[in-house]
Amino acid sequence: MILALVEHDRGKPNPLSLEALTFGRRLAERADVPLHAVLIGSEARPLADLSAAYGASMVHLVTHERLADFAPAAWAQSVVEVVDAVAPEAVLGAGSDRGNEVMAHVAAKIGLAMAANCVEVEPREPYVVTRLRWGGSLLEEARLEGVPKLLTVAPHAVAAEEVSAAGEPAVETLTPALEDEDLRVRVMGRTEAAEGRVSLPEARVVVGGGRGVGSADGFAMLEELASLLGGTVGVSRVVTSLGWRPHAEQVGQTGTRIAPDLYIACGISGAIQHMVGCKAAKQILAINTDPEAPMVAKADYAVIGDLRAVVPAVITEIKKALDG
């Protein structure tokens, strides 16, 4: 049997767990064994049907009065007890923060190896898994020993897929023997993301300006765009060299390295020294007159044109969207 951990936060399922269920179901089918799910905490009880919809024929619901909020070692102990009870061939978690964490605790407790972020599993003895290295830039083929096999499923290794004829799942409830030790680490409070002045390395949005801005005065529109988007302004080296902006705003090899969700590079050609500073940006939008500029080539989105015309138009459009 294959056991899949269905992860949730105070009852809200993590979509990656559904992928893990799908991955587990296919593995189970190949090995011709059933797929079971494990749910932790009474808040997770409503997820039994969902687990079934994604192929679990049986759900092990682990409840305990002290399983009120996420506690990785306690969750791991819960999984271990289910493992002890049902002796699965393999245990799968999602390759999420919590999934990897809980499965690592499980592995430590059982004393077995664990393969994180697998994209393929060959259910032989030992398992041959293909897993992500370097955040997915590279794959590793590895042999995974032990019983049960412990692994997590890399995000988006498969698309979550409901089964056509899901029945009522059998639900087995279990109460683990939790030690104090298992509850030393648990969520004891929460805060919401604080608002305030955004610094370059922390900014979610950075509006970058290069030589194409044309003058020190030209940065007013970039400031406006940045503030509309809750971001901040960064500049290329040439801009500080020309004395248009202070050195503290320089993004690049010798300036600050940024990692925003979006980097809007306005009139920046994309010299290597600059790209080093912004390569951690999740998305890049380039606004540049030269369609062959390196920045355009490396961007996810681009507008070809003079930023001095494009940026004001974008500002107007954003204001419309915000008012609407």
């Binding site: 500080t240 060299s241 320089q250 090899q253």
Partner: protein, 839 residues
Amino acid sequence: MTTLPRDANVVVIGGGIVGNSMAYHLARLGWKDIVLLDKGPFPSPGGSTGHASNFIFLVDHSKEMTEFTLDSVRQYQELGVFTESGGIEVARTKERLEELKRRVASAKSWGVEPVELVAPAEVKELVPFLDEKIVLGAFHTPGVGVVDSLRAGTLMRERAQEMGAITVSANTETTGLDVVDGRVAGVRTDKGDIGCETVVICCGVWSPRIARMAGASIPLTPAVHQMIDVGPVPLFAETVGEIAYPIVRDMDTNMYERQNGSDFEIGSYAHRPILMEPDQIPSIEESVLSPTELPFTQDDFDLQMEQALELFPDIVGDERVGIRHSINGLLSLTPDGMPCLGETPEVKGMWSAAAIWIKEAPGIAKTIAEWMTDGCPEIDPHASDIARFYDHHRTKTHIEARSAEGYNKTYGIVHPAEQWSSNRDVRLSPFYARERELGAVFYETAGWERPHWYESNAGLLDEYGDRVMQREAEWESRWWSPIISAEHLAMRDRVAMVDLSAFAIFDVSGPGALGYLQRLAVRQMEVPVGRVVYTPLLNPAGGVKADLTIMRLGSNRFRVVTGGFSGMFDKKWFVDHLPDDGSAQLYDATSAWCTVGVWGPRARDLVASVAEDDVSNEAFPFATCRGIDLGPVRALASRISYVGELGWEIYAPMEEGARLWDLLWEAGRAVGVVPAGIGVYATTARLEKSYRAHGNELELEYGLVEAGMAGPAVKDQDFVGKDAYLNQRQQEATALLCSLTVDDHTSSSGVKRYMLGREPILTPDGGPIVDAKGRRSYVTSAGAGPSVGKHILMAYLPPEHALVGTNLTVEYFGEPYPVTVAVVGNTPLLDPANERLKG
């Protein structure tokens, strides 16, 4: 995307500062249908331009390099990308302080002004964050600055585009070069092929790889130059722009430091030479930063950090200032430290513009563009001419050995006569073993080991010591011996044997041989068989391209003899002008013949004692040549001399050379023969005779009239440069080559000092001497004249100073020494009537 044209007039490969400058200058000179391509993206395709430190110091001891640099600065200024910051070269040692005085002299010789030597307190004023206690003084050049080299390249590319002359293609990799009948026929790229007859390789560290595609070599090696960047520097927080303080060269540690915005950049040429091969350089895709920015190797830089910390404790010692960036940047090194410029000798139409740094790139590009356009560059690039290399220079062994040796001399105190220590003993004459036995001290030219003097002649000092000007100062006694002067005097009294096997020898034959040589030589070549003609060669603008001798060995047979150093670029000049109809052929016979000069008043006695032939003046007059039998050796003897004495250059088959030497040596005992080195041949004897040397007095920037070599008449036949030469003869010369003698050698500290060459000639009150064309007067050659008892200097002087008896000064290590014009033109100081020579 750009579509590549199927055909072009010229393809410039490489889009760094060199390629962009090339494209612009070609367009400016009227070239059309230029293609500029690079395998990387613009503006920074991934070569060395992208990580260059971009600063420009103006003064170099090489005139050629300084001229390239000054011209480049003018171009950068005109483009608006030059920021003047000033530059300080600091001395930590007394020896360096002396060297800085020499840099002042070079600045004055090449016209770089203003410059000044400054005391530690003034250094502190200029660079407040420098610990002045570490330094003894500094050389300050206010005109030093930084450039935005990427911007400069972009602007030049755009200008060429505005002229409608150029197609630019980024991300286009050259995959092959087509060569048909020894000439470039096309460039193959991953975006398509371009037919063209001219290609310029501006590929920096990749240049050898591209040249190899056409079967040519560009002898350079990629090498690592380490740089770190520390910051942010609190002191720079309030400064505006890229640089507000002078750039510092810490010469004694082979390092430089400069402000770069909020950061402080530290670069080094001090670490062990780390050479690479062009094929080892990663591709753009494989590179983390760029192909020429390799991972930093910390261990190599540890000492440099300590030295930077010593000099800049306030910045480098600040714990808040972090090392934000560090790279092993790649740059190009060549075996002799000079760039590789010009058409490759192997492939017609394939030009090299390689081993060029930011500071000289636009000036060099302009020079090459002129050279490509009409063969007449304004700045003489002969020391950078890629045709200068012999085959052995192109071997990996040589390139790596000399590049590595030269690397740590980047800021070194290099004596003008300093010898290389690596890869020696490559070309040995058949006399070598005997010379070693005689205690020869060997200097190298073009790979040849040539005796500079012989320790076995030390005994001559007993005889001539009182006439030898002993050198008291360490600098000019370095790479020198008083024996040179003693050998000289013994030669003038008796007879000397001089090994001249380093000559480059080209045999020209065929029915068109005479017409062909007539087209190149200034002097009349239609002479009787057996005549020897000394002649200059000119370029079309009338600049002196070469000077050499040509023997007429038969009606259709000539032998050209030229110096070892200039042998290969002279050969290219001859080969380039060979008639298309095949009526003349050139054969490089350098390796077939050894040569010994036998000169002195007893030379005839010596030669006569072993010759089967009559060698009397009547039978064998001056400026003739013929075969003679010397014992068992059938040799070619040529009665000319570069030392001003009776005698012959004797040419023998290389393998018979040892026998010839022994024969002459034994016969010479009776007449007191001495072996004499190149110290006599190339300097002391030459200067007494006012003989000019190529690369010193003779270069493209001066003509024959100025050099005092115009001769009474011009031959009727046409020759290269004739029109310009005729024109020069009509004009008043703007400068005249003069010989000067030093009147008083005594320095302020009472030590006698002797100039070595390249020093500025100044007015009696120390002012510069500039001719109507803006050229400075400087010492082109310097050396002892033991027979005239004077230290002799040659220099071009404007007509108002070119008068015998005029008093001027020469600046040497910061002090003026009085000199007097002894000769205007080429009249010898010794034996003006040439009686010794022709007797």
